[in-house]
Amino acid sequence: MNWFRKRSSTPLWRDEFSVYTADESYVTRRQFSKFLTLTSFGMMVGNLWILAKSLLHREAVYPRTAVAGLEEIPVGGVKIFNYPTSNDPCILVRIGADNYSAYSQKCTHLSCAVYYEREQNRLECPCHQGYFSIADGSVLQGPPQRPLPRVALEKQNGQLVAIRMEGESV
């Protein structure tokens, strides 16, 4: 089935390479319109692909992992750990005596490792000076557009346990 060519007894080559000069403007315009319509089709396929990926998406199941003891790190101290897999570095910061925050260590700009800047009380990316709030991981300055994914923590038997990631992008 040929959707892009009208039914005709004239062969395609004669249609596309007319001997009449006046017809040339029509041929070029028709070909350009065909190209534009196919581009539109391509973009519709792109949107359908996103829809399919969304429908097939499954909610991630996170393991419960002990990260550190409650008194293991001092106030203002930091511990690096991996969660939810061994390839996902995260950073745990003890902000106060009973206040802990943990985030993915990958900067949401280009995945450089962020570190805790104690004097400014914020997380900083050394690559492009992206700064994140220690309170909620939101962007304070720099090229990152999205906040750092947060690790939800729970206290259990004198331990801090990571239970899930929050705000993680696809």
């Binding site: 005709s8 029509y26 315009r29 539109s40 089709f41 949107n47 996103i50 829809l51 998406h57 992008s169």
Partner: protein, 78 residues
């Protein structure tokens, strides 16, 4: 180029339709990038409306292309 009046009229109609297709394409490019950005940020609610609107825009482009094809064939027949 020596064009007769019906051919000139045909070209004008085709140019208008092509301009409309270009406008629709620009909207569709914006829609695709916005939907992708939203999906990559973890928001999946925009995917279905994005796909439906993209389909409508493609249908409009295709209808305009068929119009161009018809005008082209009518004018060439004389």
């Amino acid at each position: 180029m020596n064009t007769s009046p019906p051919q000139k009229r045909g070209l004008t109609a085709i140019d208008g339709a092509m301009a409309l297709i270009v406008v629709l394409l620009m909207v569709q490019i914006w829609l695709l990038s916005a939907t992708l950005e939203s999906y990559l940020a973890g928001y999946r609610d925009a995917a279905a409306p994005g796909a439906i609107i993209s389909f409508i825009l493609f249908a409009a482009c295709y209808a305009l292309y068929r119009f161009i094809d018809r005008v082209d064939s009518e004018v060439r027949k004389g």
